[in-house]
Symmetry: C2
C-alpha cells in the first residue's frame, strides 16, 4: 500500500502539499495539484483512515447503539440515521447490545477508543456515569427514549404517558369494560410511562387493580404468554393495551388460540407503529411514534454537537398519534 510519502516522492513535492491536495486546504497551484493527482492515480493511493483518525482525532463514523435489532423499531430508526449520516459523509456502525449491560459497556469503551464522532444510544441499562468518559472527550451522545438528568446531551423521546392515555381511552370509547395492560419491563422508562398513561384513565374504576397488569418482555413471546396469563386471571377481559407492537402481536396470537375473536371479544392496542401491525389479521390499532423522525432528529442533533462543541442540550419530546385499525373496530 502506497503512503502519502510515496505519493510525495512520485509527484516531486512534500507530504504537506499532498495532504493539502487531499483535503483541499491551503494554497496549491493548479499545476502541482494535477501532478499530485496523477501520482495518486498511478500509485492507487488510498489515505489510511486510521492514521488520519489518530492525527485529527475524528473518524467520520457515528455509532448507533440499540438493545435489540430484532425489534423492527430499531431498524427503522437506523434507516433514518443512515440516510442523514450518508448525506453528510458519515458512516453508521450499528451496535447491538442484546440488552446486556456487559456488551453495552464494552461497546461504549470500544467506541470511545476508536474515536467515533458521535453516538446515538437507546438502552435501558445505561447510567450517567457510563457516559462520563464520552462527555470528557467531547464525543456527543444523543439518547433515544431516555432523558438523562445530566444536561450535557440531547435526548429524543415521545409522549409515552400521553400515548398510554390515548390507547386506554380509545379502548374505553369502543366499549371495552375490562381493560388489561401488557406492560414492558419495569426498569424501562418508556414502559413505565406508558403504564402510567394507562393507569391515569382507569384508576377511578372500581374493578381496576394491579391484577390487570402483567409485566412482560418487549417481544412477541412476551405478549403471547402475558396475554394467556391475563385470560387466566380475568376471563372477562375484553380489551388490552400492549406496551409495544410486538407484545400486541403476541397477544393477538394468544387470543386466537384461546378462542377469542379480535376485536369482538378482545380489542387490542399496541404502541410504536412498526410495519408488522399492518401485516397481522386483523391489523393492529397502535399508538404511532414518528420513528423516522426520531432517527433523523437524533442524527441531526449529533451533527449539531459535532459542528459546535458548545451546543446546548435539548430534550425533544415528539408527538404520538392513534392509528385505528381492525383490532379495535367494533
Amino acid at each position: 500500500m502506497a503512503t502519502i510519502r510515496d505519493v510525495a516522492k512520485e509527484a516531486g513535492v512534500s507530504v504537506a502539499t499532498v495532504s493539502r491536495v487531499l483535503n483541499n486546504k491551503g494554497y496549491v497551484t493548479k499545476e502541482t495539484e494535477k501532478r499530485v493527482e496523477l501520482a495518486i492515480e498511478k500509485l492507487k493511493y488510498k489515505p489510511n483512515a486510521i492514521a488520519r483518525s489518530l492525527s485529527i482525532r475524528k473518524s467520520n463514523i457515528i455509532a448507533l447503539v440499540v438493545p435489540a435489532i430484532n425489534n423492527p423499531f430499531f431498524p427503522e430508526i437506523a434507516k433514518a440515521v443512515e440516510d442523514v449520516a450518508q448525506a453528510k459523509g458519515y458512516k453508521v456502525f450499528l451496535c447491538n447490545t442484546d440488552d446486556r449491560r456487559d456488551r453495552l459497556i464494552e461497546y461504549l469503551h470500544s467506541l470511545r477508543d476508536n474515536f467515533v464522532d458521535g453516538i446515538i444510544i437507546n438502552s435501558e441499562n445505561l447510567t450517567e456515569a457510563d457516559l462520563e468518559d464520552l462527555k470528557q472527550q467531547d464525543i456527543p451522545v444523543i439518547t433515544i427514549d431516555r432523558v438523562l438528568s445530566n444536561q450535557a446531551f440531547s435526548s429524543i423521546s415521545v409522549k409515552n404517558r400521553y400515548g398510554g392515555q390515548l390507547a386506554t381511552n380509545h379502548l374505553i370509547q369502543v366499549g371495552c369494560q375490562r381493560i388489561g395492560h401488557l406492560s414492558g419491563p419495569e426498569n424501562v422508562v418508556t414502559a413505565k410511562d406508558r403504564f402510567w398513561g394507562y393507569r391515569d384513565q382507569l384508576k377511578n374504576f372500581d374493578w381496576f387493580d394491579q391484577s390487570w397488569i402483567v409485566k412482560v418482555d418487549f417481544s412477541i413471546e412476551g405478549g403471547y404468554h402475558g396475554m394467556k396469563e391475563l385470560f387466566q386471571r380475568h376471563p372477562d377481559i375484553d380489551g388490552v393495551f400492549a406496551a409495544n407492537d410486538l407484545i400486541a402481536a403476541g397477544a393477538l396470537k394468544a387470543a386466537f388460540e384461546w378462542g377469542r375473536k379480535v376485536p369482538d371479544d378482545l380489542a387490542i392496542v399496541g404502541f410504536d407503529g412498526i410495519d408488522i401491525t399492518e401485516l397481522t389479521i386483523p391489523r393492529i390499532t397502535t399508538i404511532q411514534q414518528p420513528i423516522y423522525e426520531i432517527g433523523k432528529l437524533a442524527m441531526e442533533e449529533v451533527l449539531r454537537f459535532i459542528n459546535n462543541s458548545k451546543a446546548t442540550a435539548k430534550n425533544y419530546e415528539l408527538d404520538v398519534k392513534l392509528i385505528q385499525r381492525e383490532s379495535t373496530m367494533r
Copy 2:
C-alpha cells in the same frame, strides 16, 4: 487523557515496559508490573485503540455487512455472529447497505481503511473485483448466500434449490393442483436457485408456464402485491411457494383480503424459518435454514482466517428442512 508515556513516567519505567505489561508480552518482574498497574490505575489510563491499530494493523473489530436489517433473517444471523465474536474478544459492527451498491462500496472502503480484522458479507450487488483490495490486504471476507468463483474466501450458503424442490413437492403432496411462485429479485442468486427448485418439480405438468411466477422484492409488501397479481392471473391457484418468509407473510395477507382461506383455498410455503412464521394466523409452513448456524459458522471461518492467513477457503452448503405448519395443513 493519559498516554502510555505518562504512565511510564509515573511508574518510573520506559514505555516499552508499560507496553509489555499491557499486552503481557516479554519479561517483566512482578514488582515493576505492580508499579505500572498502579500508575495505570492512578492516571485512569486507557490505551488508545486507534494508535494501537495503526501500529499493529489490527482493530479487533469485525464487520457484518447486510442488505436489509429489517429482514429478521439478518438480526438472527447477527446474533450468532456477535455471540461467537464476543467470546473471542472481537466486537461486531453492523453495516446496513439498504440494498444499495453505492453504500456497499463506501462501507467496504471504510472498513478496509479502518483495519477491520474481518468481514462477513451478504449482498447481491457484490462483485469479485470489489473484494480485490481486501484480499490484497489479507482481510478475510466470508460471504453468506453467495459463492464467489474466486477461491480466496470461504462462503456459507444453504441448499436453496433443494429447498425449492422440498417446498413445491410438499404443496403437491397436500393436494395442490395449481402452484404459483413468488420469486425474489432475479439478480439474487438464492432467489434464482429457489426458483429452479420450484421449476424442477413442475416443469412436466402441462398447465405450467411462466405466468405462474411473479418476481417481487424480498418484503411483505412484495409478497402482498405479487400474490394479488397471481390471483388476478390465475383465479384457480391453490398453492404458492414464496421465495422467503416475508413474501409468504404478504401473500397470506393478500389471500385474506382476496377472500381465500389458507390453507383450504390456498396453501402457502415460505423460506428461511424466521420467527414471524410462527406469529401469523395460520402459522406458515417454511423451509427452515439453520440461521444461527450460518452466523456462527461465518464468524468461525473469519477467525480461522485471522489466525492463519494461509487458511484455505471452503464452501459450506448447509441443509434446509421443511417445517410444516397450518398454512399447508389440509
